[in-house]
Symmetry: C2
Subunit: 312 residues, 2 copies
């Protein structure tokens, strides 16, 4: 066990539902830190956690320095680090180490780490070496890594064998996984095999939140927690209630509305609509805003669902 | 036409054969700038160009600052910027702009730019917006972008329609393409459609160098130009000679030896062997060095081919 890891550290329990916080941009396409902090504050007020710099945050469209500055701005705004699970992965080991250190030294509850995703056909040995270097170089007993399994986007996934090897070598630092693989048999196997040791499995979408909780998983880190946090959190609280299946169905129905569009753009459009701030419609290329026609069609569909953003 | 672009700028002609320069690492896995500069000097002495920070340079395993420092070290070592085509692409627009500016302001002959490769299913509109922002933000008449088409790795490719739109909008800034698509019909179409306007098509492997030159392309930017520059350059010079097909076959035979192994690791192993510097065997995770058994098998195969690194 590395010297910096001790038995005395007690990790913070993450919220059961986290949003990959959408990133607002100014007219020059720079991240708007004040607006981002307001978004984070609103999510935390709903009891959602902050998985900032995730896929739906356009995290990889930001430089490492931009991510650090946003993180620092949110901390300076007084939002508690214990609610935070920033994405700190990078194809570059040095960048991943640097951003992870910033997160850990500021007390973030955990970090969500993509595998290095540029090279394809990478072996588990290579990924093990990458995560090992990350843990050893950060060298901080407070480090809590959540592995980010999202093969539809990153192409490089996290195998069960890799989880097993990492957990055996770094039982304290390897805290859990965000599973956006879309393969329930994988999710089941990972929960069954690893969760008894405290390894936390978060579904990558609320559409399988109930299944995940029933199987022994922890919750979800889901795009649409940006726009529907209260209802998702309600299911997380009431999953053992008789109405849970009905609640799940309502979540799925709303998700389907958003998912019929490019998802990040659709969520930003909904925030722009709810806040009256057209600025929310900006995405960094290569991603793009909805067309005017798409935006108004989405708005009508959301109205028909009785959708509203509480206190936004 | 953007204000910064003028008719008076005369771009430098790149060498016909460029190597994605292998990156040496020290014991702490930091790039070794002095060793890198020596490698660049050796390549230039063979008349090869320097496509540093490419795929085979482990370019995406380096931070933007690491790439800038290496570039500056090579310039300080007196190696001419006119031989340089650094890879300056990034998933983050800000990083791509920053690194491209460094390259252009230092007089690099061109930059090789990957499309932003994290998000999948990106439209040509989104990619056009990305490259447009890059050109406009760099805002320098000396900017010469070579589009990097490598769908087997980046997944996101460069369509003919995208080339057409970019060339029409930025006829001076869009200089050419590196085509590592492995699809000869695409290569042919791109050469036939765009090369008459001066758009330069470089094959991504020397195995199609002769075909590319015969069709009207410019040369190649190829991994194995790190270890076999002289022979590849000889074919580039003598492609109209009667022995050209035989020369191509010899290149292919040697390439096949390297390609039977993980390519970057195999080339580094050959450099370690030739130089006696075991340090060449280091790769940054997730990539890994050859095993001892692989290294000795490769060495024997290279001996059997009469392979040697001239003056290395």
């Amino acid at each position: 066990m590395p010297a910096a890891q001790t038995k005395d550290f007690h990790p913070v329990k993450l919220p059961g539902v986290l949003a990959p916080v959408l990133t607002p941009f100014d007219a020059d396409l720079q991240p708007d830190a004040a607006m981002f902090a307001r978004m984070c504050r609103w999510l935390v007020a709903q009891d959602a956690g902050l998985a900032m710099f995730g896929t739906n945050s356009e995290g990889n469209s930001l430089s490492i320095d931009e991510r650090k500055r946003l993180l620092e701005a949110v901390l300076e705004a007084g939002i508690p680090a214990t609610k935070m699970l920033p994405g700190t992965g990078s194809c570059s080991l040095t960048d991943a180490v640097s951003l992870t250190r910033t997160a850990v030294s500021n007390g973030c509850a955990g970090v969500l780490v993509l595998p290095p995703f540029y090279y394809k056909g990478i072996s588990d040995d290579g990924l093990f070496a990458f995560f090992s270097e990350l843990v050893e170089r950060v060298g901080d007993a407070r480090l809590r890594i959540y592995l980010y399994h999202i093969p539809p986007v990153a192409q490089i996934g996290i195998s069960e064998e890799l989880i097993d090897r990492l957990l055996k070598r770094y039982p304290q630092a390897i805290a859990g996984i965000k599973d956006t693989g879309g393969d329930w048999t994988y999710t089941e196997r990972v929960i069954d095999r690893f969760s008894s040791t405290g390894f936390e499995v978060f579904a990558g979408t609320e559409t399988i939140l109930l299944k995940t909780l029933r199987r022994g998983g922890c919750g979800c880190i889901s795009a649409t927690a940006n726009v529907n946090p209260a209802q998702i959190i309600a299911l997380h609280r009431q999953w053992q209630d008789p109405e849970a299946d009905q609640m799940q169905q309502a979540l799925n129905d709303l998700r389907a509305v958003f998912q019929a569009y490019p998802l990040i753009a659709a969520m930003k459009s909904a925030l722009a609509d709810a806040s009256g701030l057209a600025q929310w419609n900006r995405l960094r290329p290569p991603l793009q805003a909805l067309s005017g026609q798409q935006a108004s069609m989405l708005a009508r569909q959301l109205d028909a669902h009785g959708f509203s953003l509480r206190d936004f």
